[in-house]
């Protein structure tokens, strides 16, 4: 189980690094904006909450660095991320927990769809080199050079403003009460369609190019030729032998680029005013809500880590060599 042990150690270190970066950033910044904010809200913050903020942003100059660090971890383990200034006096953790499911739903599902579709298209293009399918490559190259959010703007202009097929912002019809009935779910799907489509369009190109290159590489492996020599049906050779092996590095790079993709797709939430964690980050940045910014970053990083771990499980399930003992 050496594979898993190595991965677990890596994720623990990465989680530690993310928390530490989060701890260090406000302490390394010149000036301290939070003191001013606390002062402005004097009397509206209870002393416990003020203490959390002091620990989070290192305002207690009489404490040593190490003491601050230990206190910081203590707060995190209690799930205390301080108070949001924008949504005063709501705790940051509450806001994050409310918005996270929306992001996981939108960005998560759209990213998985883009990965699956892109991988399938890349498989086909990589397998049939030198046919019309290669014509898709320049288009993919163009799409990979376009910023995500601009594609969102274009999508809104065309489908929401000009054609009026979809709403241009929001995540469900505000006249409905959130519940698990069909009407509400339908509304969520309707509102989520355009942002999801844009995320898929923006990120699919990378998967197509990556999988196509891996298919080209794997196709020259001996076992693919052996499969052809055995007279297996074309589909079996293409999926069972070539794609089945080409997808392994594709999953590794999925795990590696998750951070990059999630960053890009969060911007999409800002464009569509979709109530996920990316939109919360947008609001936090625009209103200089530092506790909220910090909390959102931490949660995003930890979510990406969890997604990475899932990708690792999938990888291990697909590659018997990782399950090797020793």
């Amino acid at each position: 189980m050496s594979f898993f042990r190595r991965r677990i150690i890596f994720y623990l270190i990465t989680a530690w690094a993310a928390v530490t970066i989060n701890f260090l950033i406000p302490r390394l910044m010149p000036g301290d904006p939070v003191t001013a904010l606390i002062a402005r809200n004097q009397g509206r913050i209870d002393s416990d909450a003020e203490q959390s903020l002091r620990v989070l942003f290192g305002l207690d100059s009489n404490q040593s660095f190490l003491e601050q660090y230990i206190d910081y971890w203590g707060l995190l383990f209690r799930g205390d991320l301080g108070l949001s200034f924008t949504f005063f006096p709501t705790p940051v953790s509450d806001i994050v927990w409310q918005s996270l499911p929306w992001t996981v739903g939108l960005v998560g599902i759209a990213t998985v769809i883009a990965f699956v579709l892109g991988t399938l298209v890349g498989t086909a293009i990589g397998w049939r080199r030198g046919t019309w399918a290669d014509g898709l490559l320049p288009i993919s190259t163009f799409f990979s050079a376009v910023p995500y959010f601009w594609l969102g703007l274009i999508a809104i202009t065309v489908f929401a403003v000009q054609l009026g097929w979809f709403p241009s912002n929001g995540s469900y019809d505000r006249s409905l009460l959130p519940s698990f009935d069909l009407e509400f779910l339908g509304s969520v799907l309707y509102y989520g369609f355009l942002p999801a489509l844009t995320v898929v369009l923006a990120s699919i190109a990378g998967w197509i190019l990556g999988m196509r290159n891996m298919m080209v590489t794997v196709s020259s492996e001996d076992y693919v030729t052996v499969a052809q020599a055995k007279g297996l049906p074309e589909r079996k050779v293409m999926f069972g032998y070539a794609a089945r092996n080409a997808i392994l590095p594709q999953i590794s790079s999925f795990a590696l680029s998750l951070g990059f993709i999630v960053g890009g797709t969060l911007i999409m939430e800002m464009v569509f005013s979709y109530q996920g964690i990316g939109y919360v980050l947008y609001q936090a940045v625009n209103t200089h809500d530092y506790p909220l910014m910090q909390g959102v970053f931490l949660v995003i990083t930890l979510s990406v880590l969890v997604a990475n771990i899932l990708a690792d499980f999938v990888y291990a399930a697909l590659d018997p060599r990782t399950r090797q003992e020793g």
Partner: protein
């Protein structure tokens, strides 16, 4: 020890029942799709008879593997077959040209008629499937309606046949040693009892002991199942042990084609002679290893006339003018089954005594 004991591997393909199973005629292959491809095979003709072990030998880069892959249409891009025929005679006596088959026909014929054991057993097996599944899917592809269980049972039998315990069916390739993987490949190749088994340097990556075991196993299985073998190797001394007939290739052409013992004792082509002298004989008296001067030619810049001229110790001025054809030896009457591509065996010059041993 005399050389006659080496024929113990079952040479029953005597001249009387010579019946071709695979005939390669004037096969030409280019490498490169561009304007200026390399002609890696030029008009190669070769016949494999039923039940025969045909050895294909030559230095690396001479085109021996290319010949095997082109004949089965497995040559990867940018290989391109530019002419010739590969006629396969199946058990019912029907003759078909592999090069004109449709994809579907070719797929149906593959592994049933011709199976291949590749050079690197390391990379021949799909690393993510269990070996049982890999053997079974070959069986299933050619046996409509077979159940998974039956195919796996057959796979177990096959593993047993090559001396691997059937419980290894559920092993992944990385859990097997190199020799075991090569045996698995052999078992897989015999799954449909093909008429022709092509083996491309099947033992090169293995140690000497393993090499010997595998070679003996192939000989024994052939005895039992009666398939024909094309055995490709650069190791001529190994070929002399197991082959009935040997074809020597040089720079994309066959230069000599004769019974194994004849090639061994009385090489007729200067290159064959040189090649034999590059390896220590496995049996028989020791002799000096001389090798061949120079190195294989660049196929893009072949000399005119005989391509071996620059390295040949017997060359005459005519050799660099006239391109020799594969034809009868100088002793055509006494050696009807030998062919050699050297003008010294024709009307030009005199045949040096080294190439005229009787």
């Amino acid at each position: 020890m005399s050389a006659s004991t080496t024929s113990g591997t079952g040479r029953h393909a005597d001249a009387a029942v010579r019946e071709p199973v695979l005939e390669i005629k004037n096969l030409s292959v280019d490498y490169g799709f561009g304007q200026d491809p390399t002609h890696v095979l030029r008009q190669v003709s070769l016949t494999l008879n039923r039940g025969e072990v045909l050895g294909l030998a030559g230095e690396s880069g001479c085109g021996k593997s290319t010949l095997a892959y082109a004949a089965t249409r497995l040559l990867p891009p940018p290989g391109l077959i530019t002419g010739g025929e590969v006629v396969l005679t199946d058990r019912s006596g029907e003759r078909r040209d592999i090069l004109t088959m449709s994809d579907a026909q070719l797929r149906a014929s593959r592994w049933q008629d011709v199976a291949i054991v590749f050079q690197g057993a390391m990379n021949s097996l799909n690393p993510v499937f269990r070996i049982g599944r890999q053997i079974a899917d070959a069986i299933a592809a050619h046996t409509p309606g077979i159940r998974k269980k039956q195919a796996l049972d057959r796979a177990a039998e096959l593993l047993d046949m090559v001396g691997i315990s059937p419980d290894r069916l559920s092993a992944f390739p990385h859990q097997l040693s190199g020799g075991m993987r090569q045996r698995v490949m052999i078992a897989m190749a015999l799954a449909l009892e093909p008429q022709v088994l092509i083996m491309d340097e099947p033992t090169t990556a293995l140690d000497v002991v393993m090499q010997r075991q595998i070679v003996e196993q192939i000989a024994e299985l052939r005895e039992r199942l009666g398939f024909s073998v094309v055995f490709i190797t650069h190791d001529v001394s190994l070929l002399i042990e197991i082959a009935d007939r040997i074809a020597i290739m040089y720079a994309g052409e066959i230069v000599e084609d004769a019974a194994a013992q004849d090639v061994y004792r009385r090489p007729r082509h200067p290159y064959s002679r040189g090649l034999l002298r590059s390896f220590p004989p496995l049996r028989g008296p020791r002799r000096e290893l001389t090798g061949i001067a120079g190195s294989p030619p660049d196929l893009r810049l072949l000399p005119t006339g005989c391509t071996f001229t620059p390295r040949c110790g017997f060359s005459t001025p005519e050799c660099s003018r006239i391109h020799p054809e594969l034809g009868p030896t100088a002793f055509a009457g006494a050696e009807p089954d030998r062919r050699v591509a050297c003008i010294l065996h024709g009307d030009v010059g005199t045949l040096p005594p080294e190439l005229a041993e009787r």
